[in-house]
Amino acid sequence: MNTPQHAPAYNFAYLDEQTKRMIRRAILKAVAIPGYQVPFASREMPMPYGWGTGGVQVTAAILGADDVLKVIDQGADDTTNAVSIRKFFQKTAGVKTTTETAEATIIQTRHRIPETPLTARQILVFQVPIPDPLRYLEPRETETRRMHALAEYGLMHVKLYEDIARHGHIATTYAYPVKVDGRYVMDPSPTPKFDNPKMHDCAALQLFGAGREKRIYAIPPHTRVVSLDFDDHPFERYRHDDTCALCGAKDSYLDEIVTDDRGSRMFVCSDTDYCEGRRGDAGRTGTPHAEAQTP
């Protein structure tokens, strides 16, 4: 290790080398079979399940000393989850961190894909709570595995049918099921369906880690990713029909923010880095780049 800048009590990126190797083997298998959920021996991490233990392990396994890490939580760089995971890797790996999408080589994300298009030198790591798209439709794990193996995905459309029968349109707005490379149906983690088209033919490698469920899956660069739908109810992206109150963006995914208790609200970009970039350098100071770059 040529840059032992990390805290001396930890191995580089927290996990021991054998564990990282085990995770890399799972990742390689996942890349070889796009969309297939590869079981792996998920470790206890110093954070609760649901906070990204799967994503953190994947990031730890692929992190190199010269990587630049960005962590986002619902699109934002400055929320608790993002700040703590960034700090975690600053401390245990001593890597450089950033909030700028273009500058990052590894982006760990909770539920958003950045608005700035990703490039071939970047890897996107998703934190996944429930990896199996069939989970709430078929309660038996033995059965869902068999269904994946035999590509029996009629049940996925039953879910979409129920949406239309009840709401008149496909009301699933996040964790919208996709078919990867024409074979496996995959849960894209709870990203809004607005982001689904970004997964298709993406230049960056996309890795998904589910810590509690002990599964890793992947979408290799430039893979066909199709959102499931019906011929007469095609897949539609969804965003609030408004512009960002801060940067005026008309194309980004918007968060609704309630500003008082009398019903006033504003819409702002969910991707904070994209919003700041559009507002220019003056905007960039708006978000505290709180943590120092050294531990």
Partner: protein, 263 residues
């Protein structure tokens, strides 16, 4: 092969099927043929091996000895044990139907009635919501369920409706063979009568072949052409339904027939 020759082949052939659970005999040496459009009832008291036989026929359970042959839609008769799991499952959700005694086993209780009927269609590749819904509506009315209930979950249906929904769900892909395990069990008499009437109609109109397991001889008499009487895992008597029920040969069959309550 000409069509007439194919049609004269049996649809389903059971060849000396045997299954035991340790020292307990499930069924022993059961053989029969079933032709297209033919309905066979399997009767006998509880524990006589009727349900085991049905599970062996539908390949839900592996037989210790014996084989099951089935004539596929392309006319080729195949030994079912040589089919792969994917082929079997495809067969089971397109060309076969399986009606459970307890409808909660055969239905998805958490999704609407319409989705229950549409599931098989979506599984074989239907991707047009309007068409799936139309097919579901048609089938609900064919089994006499008010189409206004199409978006209600089967948990809100009565026992009779659930059983009829299960039948619609199975018949929507126009299977050629339907296996029923006590389809009228647990229903009250008037609901049973309606269900039997419905089944008899559907079987005749759709020219279905069916194996019906029942302990109710009245069901057997109403629905079936042929009957097999089982006792302790073995077939003790078989033949035309009228013949067996009106003129039973075996003492056990005589006992069964005489134990029907006469109002």
């Amino acid at each position: 092969m000409n069509l007439a020759a194919t049609e004269s082949q049996p649809l389903l052939i059971a060849e000396s099927l045997s299954k035991s659970f340790g020292r307990q005999v499930g069924c022993r040496n059961v053989s029969f043929d079933l032709h297209e459009g033919e309905v066979m009832a399997v009767v006998g008291e509880s524990g006589s091996g009727k349900s085991t036989l049905l599970r062996l026929l539908s390949m839900q359970m592996e037989a210790d000895r014996g084989r099951v042959f089935y004539r596929l839609r392309d006319g080729a008769t195949r030994d079912l044990t040589t089919l792969g799991e994917a082929e079997l499952r495809f067969l089971a959700r397109t060309d076969w139907g399986f009606v459970h005694q307890d409808p909660t086993l055969g239905l998805r209780m958490a999704v609407s009635g319409g989705a229950n009927v549409g599931e098989r269609l979506m599984a074989v590749g239907w991707r047009h919501y309007g068409e799936i819904r139309q097919a579901a509506t048609d089938w609900l009315s064919r089994v006499e369920i008010d189409t206004a209930r199409i978006d209600d979950r089967p948990t809100t249906y009565s026992g009779g409706m659930r059983q009829r929904l299960q039948i619609a769900r199975n018949l929507v892909t126009q299977p050629r063979l339907v296996m029923m395990d006590e389809p009228t069990g647990g229903l009250d008499v008037s609901v049973q009568a309606r269900l039997l009437d419905l089944l008899r109609n559907l079987v005749a109109v759709l020219k279905l072949s069916a194996v019906i397991v029942t302990h109710d001889l009245a069901v057997a008499r109403l629905l079936s052409h042929r009957i097999m009487v089982m006792k302790d895992g073995e077939v003790i008597e078989s033949g035309l339904t009228d013949q067996v029920l009106d003129d039973p040969r075996e003492p056990y069959t005589q006992l069964l027939v005489s134990s029907i309550l006469q109002p």
